[in-house]
């Protein structure tokens, strides 16, 4: 777990609009092999922009203005992600670092079936692969994520939200990547389905040993599943540490604020809603009896 697989150093990303928006400011991160790194923050804090930056997916007006990203391959080779040019970049993406996008419902192509979309990955990245091998590997992948291989012939609209998300994860796994970036992979899903997907991700990680960057605003969930957590605010990482440290001993005001935004399910009521600023005698329950 101590060996690094991805090092992000002082990355800054700007949206070149008028006036320029500094979306990510000098962020440094180290992702270790096989760990889950949680990236927490609210809308507009730059967490998705950073994820896109790591995969070199930024489109104008977004521009990486400074910093370095180095990927440490299994083979021992170090790849400078920022320096990759067209063809090298195309080979690097999805093969080494894959991504599960926000709103998986909408990231599958609605007019071709699941088989065609999975085959597409192999056609692009494994040109020599025979059709039979592609079929075999696709079935294997669907089984891995808990979807019936018969579903290869289905179109996205014939699958439920949870199944579509699982297919997206299967696609991200197709080339056996060493890092998976997950940008709010479960936000649009129901709590029960969400739980199933997260369990699946954790199981696959144990089996296949990839590292995960898990991006979400749901801090309690991150604390439950991550090894380490980084909290982002206005483009900067304001605090990072192990999940236990972030939970038990948060240092930054914003981390504390985020933590207190989620009332405890089973614990004390604390200073939450019903007993807020008003004295107890003014609570509606008792007022109703008066």
């Amino acid at each position: 777990m101590t060996e690094a697989v991805l090092t992000v150093r002082d990355v800054s990303i700007e949206y070149e609009v008028d006036p320029p928006v500094k979306a990510v400011r000098e962020v440094s991160l180290t992702l270790h092999r096989g760990e889950i790194l949680g990236l927490a923050g609210e809308s507009g804090c730059g967490k998705s922009t950073l994820a896109y930056g790591i995969n070199r997916l930024l489109k104008p007006p977004a521009l990486m203005t400074a910093g370095g990203i180095v990927f440490h391959d299994r083979s021992g080779e170090d790849i400078d992600v920022v320096g990759l040019a067209d063809e090298e970049l195309r080979r690097f993406r999805w093969d080494k670092v894959s991504m599960v996008f926000q709103g998986a419902m909408n990231s599958l192509n609605p007019v071709i079936n699941v088989r065609a979309q999975l085959f597409d990955v192999f056609t692009t990245h494994r040109p020599g692969m025979s059709k039979r091998d592609k079929q075999r590997r696709s079935e294997e992948l669907l089984e891995l994520v808990g979807v019936d291989p018969k579903r290869l012939s289905s179109f996205p609209h014939e699958l439920s939200g949870g199944m579509r998300q699982r297919v997206m994860i299967a696609m991200a796994l197709a080339l056996d990547p060493q890092v998976m970036i997950m940008d709010e992979p479960t936000t649009a899903l129901d709590v029960v389905v969400q739980r199933g997907i997260i369990r699946e991700i954790m199981r696959l990680r144990e089996k296949l040993g990839f590292a995960v960057v898990f991006i979400t605003h749901d801090l309690p969930m991150l604390i439950e599943i991550s090894d380490r957590i980084a909290v982002m605010l206005q483009g900067e990482i304001v605090e990072s540490g192990t999940a236990a440290d972030i939970y038990r001993d948060p240092q930054h005001e914003y981390t504390k604020k985020l933590l207190s935004s989620f009332p405890s399910l089973r614990g004390d009521r604390g200073d939450f809603v019903r007993t807020g600023h008003q004295p107890i005698s003014a609570t509606p329950a008792q007022g109703g009896a008066a």
Partner: protein, 288 residues
Amino acid sequence: MSARDHTAAGPRTLEARNLVKDFRLRNGLKFSTLHAVKDVSFTLQAGRTIALVGESGSGKSTIARMLARLETPTSGQILLDGTPAGSRGREVAAYRGDVQMVFQDPFASLNPFHSIAHHLERPLRIHNPGISSDEVRRRVLELLDRVRLTPTDKMAQRRPHELSGGQRQRVAIARALAPGAQFIIADEPVSMLDVSIRLGVLNLLAQLQREDHLGVLYITHDLATARHFSDEILVMYRGDIVERGPADTVILDPQHDYTRTLLGAAPDPERIGMLRDEVRAAVTKENA
């Protein structure tokens, strides 16, 4: 407002009695029936909060829409203070003076063309015919002040796109209060908002509830806020209420299997690392 919240018989009530809603679905030439809500009954009292929890498709929003008279029940009754709510135009208008809804998406529920003042003036004028313009103006500013949108005169002139999500949802709450409603149906009022402002909006709603002695139906999938915000929780599953009771009892001592599943799926930082260890053990077993 204290004179309005009691009838001769006691606190005001909004009751759903044996509500059923079926939707007819077409698939090619075949028709099938979806039972969205199957025989649901509950009574909401002024000053109390009932939380309706369940996953998507369980029928929670259909109940909300029926109570707001946006959907007609297939069978069953809605009673306001023990009297069946009528279905004629004037009766529905009077009903809406007492029961109002706050929608989930504050980005879609306000008209981008109109100012904030307009959003609040409309219900004031509709529900108080003959009211003077000065009085309308005064009440608009008062409503904005109550939902803490200050300075009120500046806020009144703004348009929805100039406000943040949390501010818009406050406007939606003010709009629901404008007719002088006694019952508020809040359908996932904070799920579209950023996490750090959710509690603020809920706290505001709770405070307005105390001030006006409102009855609130809080629809959510978030069990933690349901517990802290409500007196009673109803758990819905596929159109049925499978469990109901005082908030703490339902959460801390669930009886139905589905409630347990829901509770097990809710993130809980107290279970730090437990899922990892569980999965790890399962994988090791698989490999052995």
